[in-house]
Chain length 250, copies 6
């Protein structure tokens, strides 16, 4: 059974498009410290989307690899080479058009699975505009970190204290999930201890160089493991599946 739309022929997609939930993974290309690859946000969003699709028999649309701008305060923004930032209008239109094409193909149930914090408000603008036009389509949007259960949190943050999601950039959760989905991309030998005490309570432009540590890390990734990655992936999948069951009566 196929879940990845990229692998389907048009006829395979055609047969199931009217009943299935389509999941759109939205990631980014952004620095994730010295030990993680640039596409972490896309890898995690895509990996989780496939797990959710397998659980409920859904379809995963091609992952969006370019996301909205990394914020200086959270990912270092334009200070790090390799971060690829779309302008807001571009990113909103991209999400808008992809969703509209699904809708024009008769899809009525959509989950947007977001893996990059800064994407969220711009995804919702695209969804809002579409939703005014296509009232009979139901669209759910949720970032993966908002679906982690307390139970999983306790086990993932067993050694290190949870610093808050705003500092969990390239830290334990993302590192563990990438170790689970794409171990060959993780340079665990380059993992260093770095981080910030606390984020500023405001934004400054142009972004001062010292706004994030030179490594790009906001919190330690120490104690990350593929096992924690698996635990998180299954926990989050369970969370999304429950949402879909409730919202789509499946």
């Amino acid at each position: 059974m196929k879940y990845d739309m990229r692998e389907m022929t048009w006829q395979e997609f055609d047969r199931i498009r009217h009943e299935k939930i389509v999941i759109l993974p939205v990631g980014s290309t952004e620095q994730h410290g010295p030990h993680l690859p640039l596409s972490v946000d896309a890898i995690i969003a895509e990996g989780l989307s496939l797990m959710v699709a397998e659980s409920i028999g859904g379809i995963v649309a091609p992952t969006i690899y370019y996301g909205y701008k990394s914020a200086p305060l959270s990912g270092g923004g334009p200070l790090f080479p390799g971060t690829m930032d779309l302008n807001a209008v571009t990113f909103m239109n991209l999400v808008h058009d992809v969703l509209e094409e699904l809708i024009r193909d008769g899809v009525k149930k959509i989950l947007i699975l977001n893996g990059h914090y800064e994407n969220e408000d711009f995804i919702l603008e695209a969804v809002d505009l579409l939703s005014r036009k296509y009232e009979d389509v139901k669209i759910i949007e949720g970032s993966w970190w908002d679906q982690v259960s307390q139970h999983a949190m306790d086990r993932v943050f067993d050694e290190v204290e949870f610093p808050g999601w705003d500092l969990e950039h390239a830290a334990i959760a993302e590192t563990s999930l990438t170790m689970y989905f794409r171990p060959e991309f993780v340079r665990i030998d380059r993992l260093i201890e770095d981080g910030v005490e606390q984020q500023l309570s405001y934004s400054v432009y142009p972004a001062p160089k010292e706004i994030v540590p030179k490594s790009g890390l906001l919190a330690t990734a120490r104690s990350s493991s593929p096992e924690k990655g698996k635990l998180l992936a299954e926990d989050i999948t369970y969370g999304y599946v429950n949402i879909l069951k409730k919202e789509f009566n499946i």
Copy 2:
């Protein structure tokens, strides 16, 4: 001494524009429950801006009264009449053009004082685009709730437990601040007990009617008072003044 740009002649503005910090209050027109007026976010942003301007000798630009869309999860979005939502492109362009006009007038130090949660990411897109173009201008952006000290929090949430800022819509902080800045607009007789236990961990479109209580309240406003408003206003002003001192060496 005048701080409000609306009251200045062009010559008065002309004389001080090169040295002063200009503060742009950004609000919204949005439901704030049965006891607060639609312009709460603008009233608070404007009130605080004037207090900050007085403290540092700054200039307050005309308040933006129309903001980005109220999110269904936080303010009820399009479910409540009276909420006036600008599209993302419109709002970003508006902030962009206002800032660019200040910059073209020679202003080099700007503070954007935000009073509506949903505005923030779109303000920052406008600032990012300008910042690429005008590299010698420094722009600070901060929402008022991010500047409240722990000390003030303890005194404001003395009776009621702090529910988190995402649920503090039309609740104790906003009610107290409005009672301080514009007591004549608060219908304290209509204050009711209402709220939500916890927000959903995801968004749904079209927004279901039950996503926020019928009243529009996400948490109780019980124990609000003009004294708490004054305390908050002075505490927040102090926070902003410290930021400006640090960032602009004043």
Copy 3:
């Protein structure tokens, strides 16, 4: 009884939105000579809107304080600090979105009361686009100077000859109206005699500095008075009320 939407709770607005006429005052932030504040256009539009609303039981939406670009020939354009010019696309979208939100709230009768000459054509573009989409909504747009009766003209221009509306910038009508609505903002001690004989019959870009006098005045404000302001305000209100009566059968 409240007329100002900014002061209303959403429930107060909710109860009356279906029957009432909503008035949107559109102003600008623009130089108005050495004796008038930057927000004259907004002050007058807002003041007149409240008077009209009181006369017919309408609702005044939050005033738009930033308008379309001041033209070099009429207000001096970018030559004067303090003038804040929105780009055409921004301003049209702003008016468009504000009106669309009213319409989505069920409002069917709208008056746009304009106080800045250069706004008019761009307001009408926004209205035209909306009008194609919402055919059952009636929108009236009129600038205040087009509603002054001959009778009032004769009394206001008793000492000084009327120079034409294109030269009446910061002159007798605007000065008198601001003296009536916001006397505390008028620096009558700074009033000087200045002006131009006749405007050019064409536009030049970049705008030459000598295109308007250094003071920003196109015609004298001599003989302005709060009494003339009151006369004008009542005369114009009467004009708008008659239009609304005729167009909305009230």
Copy 4:
């Protein structure tokens, strides 16, 4: 000697582009009553541009035949078939790009000769945006009716009283000029007496059918003649030539 850019080879244009003034005629496609063709505004703008170019040795760029929307109050707007209205954004971008191409070709002196009232504010927005970017280019914009001398007015309005330019739609001036430039397009046999007493002092959307007479005429064209057309054409040309002499020191 060629003046019309459409007829030139690129080498012919190349040789003169750096010194010559380039004139851009901007017209429209709009109803002009029962006796005039749809392209009156373009015909007159093009005809005058060629006369000015001949007088000063300039270059006439291809005429813009599609203009900004006809206003209901002046030309009947969308009420008349055959009127072709561009949206504001489209029209501004069109003028912008055409001018920018001239500038990128090294042209430094430009005259925009406008023949459709509603175009003017949108042309100026395009010019303003360009002018910020190309500070060494001088752009003049003027509508032809603003260049008519008092002397010519007296002779053209010898039988009929001048109703004001806002009512002079398809009336004596436009009819005479078209009789002069393109007599074969004028159906003088279909000329009727029609018109309005006075325009409304405000705009209404959707435009009511009775806002202009069924014929599309706002004032009489009686007493029009090719002789008057010639007189006007020469008078206006003289006006433009004087402007260009003054502004470009030629």
Copy 5:
């Protein structure tokens, strides 16, 4: 009988708009070597449109004289003065608005007759967007070179071998057609032998100067003649008429 909409009064257009096919000629202003004028693409598109209109009793809308950017590989792009390139968004909006105005006037059958290679994909985007909105309107788009019969090809390329349409810029077909439609604009005395062997298989930006010959010619125009122009014009007209007969059942 009139076919050119520019010459019609609104009443003449009104009487026939519901049944007639409207043809929109789309050209460009682009270098066409030392012997042809800048408006070749517009001249040919307009000339053919009038011939087609005469054959089927259609209406020709005002020609679009400014087209999408000349590609460096085919017409030399920005390397040649006199080429006037619209940006993609501008050109698409222009075509979109012109077509939408026809449709809003009740026109149901449209032919877009394209004379500039680079226009085509952008015309189709405009048509696609309209077509989603107005499902009962049928729009045909075709470039003239795609309608030439083999029979005509054999006779036009009797002396010189056909180099492919991508190299036929300012060559035999365009030269002959211009000699037929506007002989007075052809400087046959300046015709030179020039051209390229083969185009590059890729694009380079910025465009290197040597990408096309200095003359702007990609292939020889030798053996061009007004007779060949007539032959081509009639052959292409025949092609279009057959398409319209088939598609519109006329």
Copy 6:
């Protein structure tokens, strides 16, 4: 050695970004008959990009999986479910922003490797706009089919006659290349004989259903093989490498 930017850490990218050529593969999600998956265009563009990068030591940016609209005449456009069409503005902005981010990271040599016919003109618009702004960056764009040598053509089209690239949709070249790059995605058992004799010489909107065969095939894929895929891939890689050597002196 890594070539895929998605797998690199930001530091790995940082070390090489100034000297390396960056290759951007641009594909689409589009029907490719009953035997090929929806992502064929992206698979081929990505596969070739990696081969070219390996040959010259380049970097492959994340593949663009959503392309410009499939044309009805070539890929069936909106007639086939599973085809995901971006609007022109969205797609141009996407390509624009991705390239601009590379350029802002200091990349000076870029190859855009296109795998979807309809993308090309819109990619070039994005490149043109960037190229005006960043004059020291060299950007090459080429579609893979334009790089196939005659030698390879002869061997690929040994059994079946080459129908022209406009009909080679899901036919021998694309099928063989997909069999080479992603054999597991090819459903060779579903391969059928289908196709069109000749494409129409014009476009029709709305697209009639019979414009392409029901299967989505425009020409036969018979005689496809992974060996032919390998041959093509190596031939095309050789072509691109030669272009890069010539254009970047490597």
